[in-house]
Amino acid sequence: MPEARLPEQFRDLEQWIGWSLETEGERSDRRQASAMEDITAFYEAMLARMEEVLPYLEQFSLEELPDDAKRLFYLTLSLAEVAPAVEQFGQPSVVDGYDIKRFVASHR
């Protein structure tokens, strides 16, 4: 049994830990490189838990998130990243979109 990386009550999300990524660039890369069925499965799993996840995270200050909570927090940011793929475009990338690799973020 690998070491648990998420807070205890969110262990069901462990299988999505690969989406726990710190920067927009990493999250965007993963979205662009993933199959739509994986993106949709992650989206549905996260969306179903958000009503519990956000109140859980809000008991901490953003600067002092414990490591397991921080990983969970990064999962919520990945939900934000993949949402347009599911809700707007029906595919990982923007339909007929500009090459996102060329749109370089100077933020994290």
């Binding site: 927009e24 989206y43 969306l47 958000m50 956000l54 995270l57 809000e58 901490f60 200050s61 953003l62 998130l65 927090f73 919520t76 940011l77 939900l79 934000a80 990243e81 949402a83 347009p84 809700e87 707007q88 475009f89 923007v94 339909v95 007929d96 979109g97 500009y98 090459d99 996102i100 060329r102 749109f103 370089v104 973020a105 100077s106 933020h107």
Partner: protein
């Protein structure tokens, strides 16, 4: 002299009745198709460099970009063949210089931003204070008759308005920043820029398009139902306003402003709905009180409003919304290359929900912009073919027409032809 009078300027202003026939409000701009040449011609580009970009105030960011003494940013003004260092001095004042060593011309700063105590040239080690004064020359005694006090970094005029830093390549501009902005910014006075600049995101890209091709794409809503069909059309159009007609607009001598429609009946998608419980986005902030917006933002106080745009000539725009704003810069590189930079701003996130909300808003904005990016390069690709010489514009594209006219007023390419 063109129309400088804003129309609706307060809560009691009558609703603007002309909002689908803007050409009628500005007859001096005409209705004829505009020429394609300014978007492709190298000769035109050279004139823009000399007559526009060297002669106007240019925004290079915000004061929050350089909060502490020694913080600097570098603006690559390729269009004027220079690079400008903007730095916060020891006493807190802001200085700007050409990024060029007084010895043999090496670039003094090589990165885009940072913090330092002084600027030391990486060629022979000449050193400059934050105020640009030359402070140290290695092996100084070997120079003959050097006037050290005249060999500081070459200054560029710098001033701020509402926390926005502007530079002017003429160190003694004939026009102050305040005069330059006077016709457009009073309406923005009081907008909470500093509060909303606590969180800043920024993307940039070099796009294969003329700077005006790129900028024009953000000056009209006519493309929304088609180009943004997948992403944003539902929030910005409706059965009653299917083509995203402006709610109000004002064209000034050089600058302009617009108010965009927002669909009050728009139903957010699940994640969007969740995000908007915690904060505003450019897509949803409907129904919030507008009391804290200055009178010049959404001046007709229409409830079905989404966002305003203030176009600061030549290449800067501010999009104030309710609880968030964004800016675009379009920096010309050559006749068919542009550095396009978008920044989006939010208040400080106090908790994970707000952070999530901001993340979603910025990701959706980014994806909407990805829709815009494609058409710009496709257009540029064929504009130069010569197959067509002019483009027709409709009432709702009047900002494109106005922008063309203002640029041409400076450039004078067609004057006397």
């Amino acid at each position: 002299m063109k129309d400088r009078q804003p129309t609706g300027t307060g809560e009691n202003a009558a609703p603007d009745q002309s909002n689908d026939r803007w050409n009628d409000k500005y007859p001096h701009l005409g209705t004829a198709p505009i020429p394609i040449e300014p978007y492709i011609s190298r000769e035109y580009f050279a004139l823009e460099r000399e007559r526009i970009f060297r002669n106007v105030w240019l925004n290079v960011g915000r004061i929050e970009d350089i909060p502490h003494p020694g913080d600097y940013v570098v603006a690559a003004l390729t269009v004027c063949r220079t690079s400008v260092v903007v730095v916060r001095g020891k006493g807190g004042q802001i200085h700007a210089f050409h990024n060029m060593c007084s010895h043999r011309g090496n670039k003094v700063v090589w990165d885009n931003a940072g913090r330092c105590r002084n600027f030391t040239c990486k060629f022979h080690g000449w050193s400059y204070g934050l105020d640009g004064r030359l402070t140290f020359i290695p092996d100084e005694q070997r120079f003959c008759g050097l006037q050290k006090d005249k060999l500081g970094l070459t200054p560029v005029a710098v001033d701020t308005w509402a926390g926005f830093i502007f530079i002017h390549l003429d160190p003694n501009p004939v026009e102050t920043l305040r005069t330059y902005l006077a016709e457009v910014v009073p309406g923005l006075e009081g907008y909470p820029f500093s509060e909303l600049s606590a969180t800043r995101f920024c993307w940039r890209t070099e796009i294969k398009a003329n700077w005006k091709v790129a900028q024009d794409a953000f000056q009209e809503g006519y493309h929304f139902p088609v180009r943004h069909k997948a992403s944003a059309a539902a929030a910005f159009t409706s059965e009653t306003n299917p083509y995203c007609h402006f709610l109000s607009l004002d064209l000034y001598e050089r600058h302009r402003r617009t108010s965009s429609y927002g669909n009050l009946d728009y139903t957010p998608t699940p994640v969007a709905g969740m995000a908007y419980q915690f904060g505003s986005s450019v897509v949803v902030e409907r129904g919030l009180a507008m009391d804290n917006l200055p009178a010049g933002v959404n001046p007709t106080r229409r409830p079905d409003w989404s966002i305003d745009v203030f176009w600061i000539f030549p290449n800067f725009s501010i999009f104030p919304s309710n609880g968030t704003y964004l800016t675009h810069h379009f920096w010309p590189v050559s006749a068919d290359r542009t550095i396009w930079e978008t920044r989006t701003y939010f208040p400080k996130a106090e908790n994970a929900g707000q952070k999530f909300s901001q993340e979603y808003s910025k990701v959706l904005l980014r994806d909407i912009l990805m829709e815009d990016g494609t058409t710009l390069e496709h257009m540029q690709d064929v504009l130069a073919s010569g197959a067509k010489t002019h483009m027709p514009l409709q009432h709702q594209e009047i900002c494109v027409r106005h922008a063309y006219n203002v640029v041409e007023d400076y450039v004078g390419f067609y004057a006397g032809r």
